[in-house]
Amino acid sequence: MEHAVLVENRKTGKIAPAVYEHPYIVRLCHWLNTVSLFVMIGSGLQIFRAFPSFGAKIPERDLINWPKSLALGGWLGGALQWHLTFMWIYLGTGMLYVGYQIFSGNYRQILFTWKDVPGVWPMVRHYFFFGPKPVQHEAYNSLQKQAYTSAIILGLLSVLTGFAVWKPIQFSWLAWLMGGFHWARLWHFLIMWAIVAFVAGHLIMVVLHGWQNFASMFTGWKKDPDYLSK
């Protein structure tokens, strides 16, 4: 788990706390996943361009004309190569991350549980309605735990829906659970947008929380965390 040190600046004599917040495997998985999410979403949108609809082929009504410039792979075959290559990196990263979190016990840092429920509303009030900032006691507040726990569930669902679309016969039970092949494809698409929404919120928070917070996802160490002050 997290461990803290006091860093003493020899010249000024100032002493500031620092906490090792993000274990190596978590950081490694975070950045691996950053790359594979980018590739999976980009190539997925190019694949979607081949049939931008969820209904019947005839008569076909395109849902959106997604621009090629916001997609990856250039053409359907190219996009499938990216998608079917990086899905294994995405899946492997997810398995490594979840496995590590469980076996190290580090999951407690971000797992949203019943005791976090009362803490969500004060954080929402703080972020969206300029309410007072609730006192922080640990690395992640209730709203963050809720967001990160949801993101992991979304990741799992993106894999399950993806397998239902890719192998609707070998994983017919998965396709059936999702309401059939058409629904599996729609769920896969909607879950992608939910992940995009998470990433957008995540990036806004990264910008708001400044350099020390951002740097900690590279070095693991966070200087002067607000929950450890004084």
Binding site: W31, G78, L84
Partner: protein
């Protein structure tokens, strides 16, 4: 109380932690033009290898009731270059070659003499759309047995009247739902659906369902995989 360290030591520790992430730079290989193609090709190859592991010889594709069928006029027709290669239906034969004891020409009547199977299965296009169709024909496995094909060979290659070509791995060719299809919706195949003979392989993606079939070859060596596969699509694409 927390242990106390001085700035210099702390900095070297953070630097060490940062350096541990350098293996991630290896992913940059995917951005190098010269490496990108072989990397993606092996990624797709890995995916196909996993697919072969997931394929179960006796696991059947879902079949559907007649009320779930996509009406024939709503069954989208994808062509490769010509809408109709103008096959002479009266003089058509299926040429069988390669590792088959009774290689030679077979007429449609020869194929129709085999037990007929009719099934309502889903045709899934690589583009993402699908249609549930009613397909009738002889089991490919029955036909292969009739022509004395060596089923220890690895592939069946297929040639078509419109120069389209395809290949199937032997386990898929022997799957009980893999048909040499001469009927759709209980009627002889129409020209746009590949008259007089097409493949209906419900465990495979749409581009494997070759139309206007004119020859089958039993072989263990593939020089070409298939028209779309050779442009970069998955060689194996099973569903």
């Amino acid at each position: 109380m927390h242990p106390q360290i001085e700035t210099r030591k702390f900095k070297s520790s953070t630097r060490r932690e940062l350096l541990k992430l350098t293996p991630l730079i290896a992913l940059g290989a995917f951005a190098v033009p010269r490496l990108q193609e072989p990397l993606l090709k092996s990624g797709l190859g890995f995916s196909d290898w996993m697919s072969k592991g997931l394929f179960r010889r006796h696991h059947l594709a879902t079949t559907f009731s007649d009320s779930q069928l996509t009406p024939l006029d709503k069954f989208y027709v994808n062509t490769y270059d010509v809408d109709d290669p103008e096959v002479d239906l009266d003089h058509w034969t299926l040429k069988v070659g390669g590792a088959a004891q009774k290689a030679g020409d077979y007429t449609l009547a020869n194929i129709q003499a085999l037990p007929k199977f009719t099934q309502n299965t889903r045709h899934v296009c690589v583009e993402g759309w699908d249609a549930i169709g009613r397909f009738g024909g002889a089991r490919l496995s029955d036909f292969l047995r009739m022509v004395g094909a060596d089923t220890t060979a690895r592939f069946i290659t297929v040639r078509c009247a419109d120069d389209y070509y395809e290949s199937l791995d032997m386990p898929t060719a022997l799957h009980p739902q893999s048909l040499l299809c001469y009927e759709m919706y209980d009627q002889p195949l129409t020209r746009e659906h590949g008259a007089p003979l097409r493949l209906s392989i419900p465990t495979k993606i749409g581009y494997k369902q070759a139309k206007y079939v004119i020859s089958l070859n039993v072989t263990s060596v593939l020089t070409k995989v298939g028209y779309w596969e050779d442009q970069g699509y998955s060689d194996y694409y099973s569903l």
